[in-house]
Amino acid sequence: MNLRNQQLLPSFQRPTSRVIIRRASDYQRELGAVILESLKEFNLPVRGKSVLLKPNLVGLDTLGTMNTHPAVIAATRESFLGLGASEVFIGDGPAMDRDTEAILESVKLKEYVGPLGGFFRDLNLDDVERVPLATRASRLKELYLPKTVLGVDFLVSVAKLKTHHWAGVTLSLKNMFGIVPGACYGWPKNVLHWAGIDRSILDINAVARPDFAIIDGIIGMEGNGPIQGTPKPAGVLIFGDDPVAVDATGCRIMGLNPDKVSYLAGAGTLLGHVDPLKIQQVGETIERVRAPFAVLDEFLQLIG
């Protein structure tokens, strides 16, 4: 993980970020080609490296709307192997149910990826290491984090395009809550709620530093997300090596203003770009794929 090599830089010192938007109308299409071609655009340094894909696996979900769709996870794994990665792990620590296996069964991940054997990691139960936090957005000063996350060369957040009843939206940054191990912090990881969800998102991402982000917006979730919302077909996949810019783009596609999402506004100062002038959009334009998402009344101010 680039915890070792990346400094936190104020946004004005960062180069422009690049985000690719691709249309994908359903999960039946050949997603592999779309994902592989998109990843190639970034010339990612993954040859011979270990990669961890961190999907958003929240709960029992037979419809494929709550969790990152297994077709996207499988195609992403194949793509990274195609780019020469030595190992591509899939790992998550579901937050609400400790029976990860039941979640994987409901998602039918094996049907898409094959036997999960040696490459699936339940991050809730991984060996852990104490990590002092690089930032002080929350009152947390340290977290125990999975050694799998700390040990891989390249970390990819493979999130879902969803609204969230506490944070406004859950995209690639909020997805990183799943690396915090349940065996230490519980199901749910309630200590993060008490420390402030928005602030915890910043602290976790400042220390985990995902190298790349992909958002599955083929079918997202609107309303009372991230679990009890309504499926929302948006027909897009979003890619980028700046997770903040990817999330800002996701918000704009959802018809929401990322500057008004508290944690994204904070992330835009130190972790990446929210400012559209600092984000080069490639592929589809936001205007062409915009699909306004319904939000709870508490988040009506995010629209725009």
Binding site: E101, E105, L125, A183, G186
Partner: protein, 321 residues
């Protein structure tokens, strides 16, 4: 014919315990006496507690030395304040304190440890239900989101957070399993409040999830593991309509369970209530054979407990008052 099939099934389960579960657990004990979540993983309190609970119930003779080293590992992990941390090096205790107290409760030499652990547990009040928070809650604009009755207080996963179903259930089990003389004076009251919390947090129609029966007016879906733990926690308490509803939900859900973890604990809960196991799409041993990738210590331990012919799972004791 039916009796022969049942006998064959029981024999197959006993064989599974002897031939798979016990060797898995015995061989995955670490040199420090503890168990990790996976073979060769670092020893942690939780998997060590489950492995010890399983191994002391198996129908085969196993090394007492292994069990002794497991207990010693637990003793070494206890923090100065009486609690146990979830991972080595952590300086704060957590919900695993309940598991450690339970497993050590019978050993005379652990009396002081268990007494200190239970004292820590009874002094650990969740922050969400403090009087101050409850007063503030009346003025919050989002007070109608969950409709919890915060006068009930259970236990959180970590200190000074909120009450949740599973840690509350496991704490009730620990306090009820331990001998009276090791329980703090507040144990009975804490258990009563936590049982009230469990019933308050039950999902509409029976069963529990982590503790959110309603969010923004939408009913939460129950889950197998929290339901089974909660049912075990209230098993010997007076008949309650919500307990019956939840048992019925678990019985209905049993058929469609797809993972060994949920099926094992559901089975323990149902059999603890004397309920015959409903038909399931696949038997527990078969589920295990199909799931090669998540064989963790606690799932093997729960399976071992569920299939072992000894039914000595949890043995609650009455409160004197």
């Amino acid at each position: 014919m039916v009796r022969k099939a049942l006998t064959d099934a029981t024999a197959a389960e006993t064989s599974f315990v002897k031939d798979f579960c016990v060797p898995f657990l015995v061989s995955s004990q670490n040199d420090d006496g503890g168990w990790g979540f996976h073979p060769a993983a670092e020893s942690r309190v939780e998997p060590t507690c489950w492995a010890l609970r399983a191994l002391r119930n198996v129908p085969v003779t196993i090394s007492q030395e292994g069990l002794r080293r497991g207990w010693e590992f637990l003793h070494h992990q206890q923090l100065a304040d009486g609690s146990w941390p979830s991972s080595r090096g952590e300086r704060t205790g957590s919900w695993v304190t309940s598991l450690a107290c339970s497993i050590l409760s019978d050993a005379t030499e652990s009396a002081a440890s268990v007494t200190a652990g239970l004292k820590w547990l009874c002094n650990d009040y969740p922050r969400d239900s403090s009087l101050w928070r409850r007063i503030l809650g009346h003025f919050r604009s989002d007070a109608s989101i969950s409709e919890h009755d915060d006068s009930f207080r259970g236990w959180g996963w970590t200190p000074r957070t909120s009450s949740w179903v599973e840690p509350s259930s496991l704490a009730i089990l620990a306090l009820r399993e331990c001998p009276e003389e090791r329980r703090p004076a507040t144990a009975s009251e804490r258990c009563a409040l936590a049982v009230g919390l469990l019933y308050d947090r039950m999902c509409s129609g029976g069963g529990w999830n982590c503790g959110n029966p309603l969010i923004y007016g939408v009913p939460g879906e129950p889950l197998v593991l929290p339901t089974a733990w909660a049912l075990l926690a209230v098993r010997d308490l007076p008949v309650h309509e919500k307990k019956s509803e939840s048992l019925a939900w678990l019985e209905r859900s049993y058929e469609s369970i797809q993972s060994p973890a949920s099926m094992s604990v559901a089975r323990i809960a149902l059999e603890s209530y004397g309920i015959g196991l409903p038909a399931a799409k696949r038997r527990l041993c078969e589920l295990f054979d199909a799931q090669e990738f998540l064989r963790t210590t606690q799932v093997v331990s729960w399976t071992c407990l569920a299939l072992s012919p000894k039914r000595n799972w949890f043995a609650p004791r009455e409160f004197s008052s």
